[in-house]
Amino acid sequence: MKVARGNDFRSGLSGIRSLDPAGWVFAAMNLVFLVCAVGLGGFLLVESVPVVRSEGLGFWLGENWWVGETFGALSMICGSLIVTGLAVSLVLPVALSGALFTSEYLAPSLRRRVKGVMELLAGVPGIIYGLLGVSFLTVGIKDVLNLLDGNTLFTAGCLLAIMILPTVLTLAEDALHSVPAEFREAAQGLGLTKLQTAWRVVLPQSLPGIAGAVLLGVGRAMGETIAVMLVIGSLDKVPGFNIFVAGQTIPSKLGREAAQALGSEQHWSALMGLGLTLFLMVAAFTFLGNIFIKRSSR
């Protein structure tokens, strides 16, 4: 196994010997990316050493975030998980059915237009969603659900769901559409209806691609700062099972306190620790997602 890998590596690099100047530029750019990725992780790790040293595990398990005294990130970690989980579970049924319809039922010319709109929406920056959220969604959710106040974890989850919907939809649609036509023809030849073909043949075939789409959505939802900050209420409190109260996510906390913490040792380190936590959470999700993709493609 090891030998095979070594060979792989060598043969992977063997192209380098015959590189022309353009190839070198590409190689250098690749190196830039590598340095960025490793550098970012390393930076977060080094910067968060002081806070982890003074707080220990309490940094992840503590509930109190009192600047100057103690830093516990549990409420933000919970908030991030709840909001992202909510967004994904709201988005999945809509995105999947939308993607199936666009890919399998729409005429090609219409499909192109729908795709164009989706891709346009996927590029809208978070602040736009945030402003719409703070002016309509918070008030609307408060009135419809008869809540005490509209700035809640639930609102943030809904807003993120709306935000990641175009991304997940268009990528999932790509995955569905890339299933070769022969599969559909064969299925129809066997007498399956269009719905059965889509559900039993096309969908399982494109599962890895769809999982990738959802993962990208998770990444965007977890990292969104400003839109969440405007509607979540920014309260550092472990929410328990009630999602209709104000909370805090890791990015919204970072957004609130970064300017204040710049240059101050412990506070800054605590924020970097939050950043590292987020980094690891996204990495863990990607890792799990990849395992799932491998499993399901077998």
Binding site: P21, K142, G233, S234, L235, A246, R256, Q260, S264
Partner: protein
């Protein structure tokens, strides 16, 4: 090599333009101002007037009093705006920066409630009542003479100047923790918007941000009542008054000094009054 000539030329051109842009921004003299959203209107209006007759470029950014003080102490800004003094903790931490405050005006902080609550009869709150609300002991407006509705308790980020002044009055401790809080906001605008959107909220705001959607209640206890009016402030009868400050590291020099003098001067003080605050040299009011 010949084939890539265009690429190289492009690259060199790109670098030269890039450098040109960078050096140009560095060369022009700039004054960077950061901090309190309460002081911000004064600073940005003054900056506009000041720049009309000067080559200096002034950039004004929000962030809150804490951010203003930290930024100037660490050399990331030339002037910090703060709607509070420098706290003992900050004084200790930034001893080396020799922070200096320059008062440019006076402001008062009001305890505000949503219009619906005000109209339902909550016109007056004692410090004890406010403390009870913020500590989570009083949860319904009914308990302080209002309608039977749960209270949306809105707090501000802990480093904010408005919060320091308000908590100092209510608890005698500027950095009091408040377990009754339901929402945390940042700038005056954000707090104002969240109170206006709610129909049962309580919060704290600078006088200049009070409007039809957010109403100020009168304060005081034991038969004394302090109306939230400028008249009461001028007569020294309103309890939460604070100075609006510019903060510099050491004595200001050059353009920074010129700008601070401008704001302290007659033209600047007119802007302070137009922004809804009291000029420093107001004859009637001397705290």
């Amino acid at each position: 090599m010949g084939r890539y000539k265009k690429v190289w030329i492009g690259l060199v051109f790109f670098l030269i333009t890039g450098w040109g842009l960078v050096s140009e921004t560095v060369a022009g003299s700039r004054v960077q101002i950061v901090g309190s959203t309460t002081v911000l209107p004064v600073a940005s209006r003054s900056a506009q007037k000041f720049m009309a007759s000067s080559k200096v470029r002034i950039l004004v950014n929000a962030g809150g009093s804490g951010v203003g003080i930290h930024s100037v102490a660490q050399g990331r800004a030339d002037i910090g705006m703060a709607s509070r003094g420098i706290s003992p903790d900050e004084k200790k931490r930034f001893k080396k920066s020799r922070l200096k405050t320059h008062s440019v005006g006076l402001d008062a902080v009001a305890c505000v409630v949503s219009t619906e609550i005000y109209q339902a009869g909550v016109r007056h709150l004692t410090p004890t009542q406010i403390a009870g609300i913020y500590m989570g002991k009083i949860r319904n407006w009914k308990e302080v003479g209002g309608p039977d509705r749960q209270i949306v308790v809105i707090d501000k980020e802990r480093h904010r100047g408005t919060r320091h002044a308000f908590m100092q009055y209510v608890f005698g401790n500027a950095t009091q923790r408040t377990p009754g809080t339901l929402l945390v906001t940042g700038s005056n605008n954000e707090e104002q918007a969240k109170i206006a959107q709610s129909d049962s909220a309580i919060g704290m705001l600078s006088f200049a941000w009070i409007n039809e959607d957010v109403k100020a209640v009168s304060l005081g206890s034991k038969g004394k009542e302090f109306l939230p009016t400028w008249e009461a402030v001028r007569q020294g009868r309103y309890p939460i008054v604070r100075k609006l400050n510019f903060v510099t590291a050491g004595e200001p020099e050059g353009e920074v000094k010129a700008f601070i003098d401008f704001v302290k001067g007659s033209e600047g003080q007119k802007i302070v009054a137009e922004s809804g605050y009291i000029p420093v040299d107001d004859e009637i009011f001397q705290p």
